[in-house]
Subunit: 105 residues, 2 copies
């Protein structure tokens, strides 16, 4: 797990999804998008886990960074495939992180 | 996955953790805490998944609801065991959800 030195406020994009049964190409694209996100301005960090649902949380400096990432052209293509094929359903919660606590401190 | 009808603003508690190798009693307590959280005032929803890291996101009406849950006595005991035994490390991000998008809409 990445240890973060940055302090609030920053932003979190909470992506909660269930996959469909049409996941051809999904794993490769997910890996590409993780790598691409790391190169984006304002990207602060990323965590992901999947069991019955998948939860991905990415952290961003501000809303402009999130908007810039949302509109990135390869990411747009991934979003389209996600909506049309890979995801049975998803929720995206855009949130402003106000406090953070870590253990050990 | 729970479908939510509530609208922003609301709050998310993003809990990202790695377990230690001392997890006796962890699974039972985690299940108890999920059930207890559902009874708390202001509780809106809960999602969880674990692979290399565990990510739990709980949703709350406001900060007062989160504070009330944080101080709940059985939850306090669980927190103490978590810090002392179960978790190698964790981060808690408290965030105000400003926008939400769902698919299908």
């Amino acid at each position: 797990m990445n240890r973060r030195s940055f302090q609030p406020p920053y932003y979190a994009v909470i992506f909660i999804s269930q996959l469909s049964d049409k996941t051809d190409g999904y794993a490769e694209m997910a890996q590409q998008m993780i790598e691409l996100a790391h190169t984006m301005p304002g990207f602060l960090g990323f965590e992901s886990a999947r069991e019955q649902v998948g939860i991905t949380v990415s952290f961003w400096r501000d809303e402009a960074s999130i908007e810039h990432w949302r509109k990135q052209s390869q990411h747009r293509q991934a979003q389209k495939l996600g909506r049309e094929q890979w995801y049975k359903n998803f929720q995206i919660h855009i949130a402003r992180v106000e406090r953070v606590k870590t253990h050990p401190e």
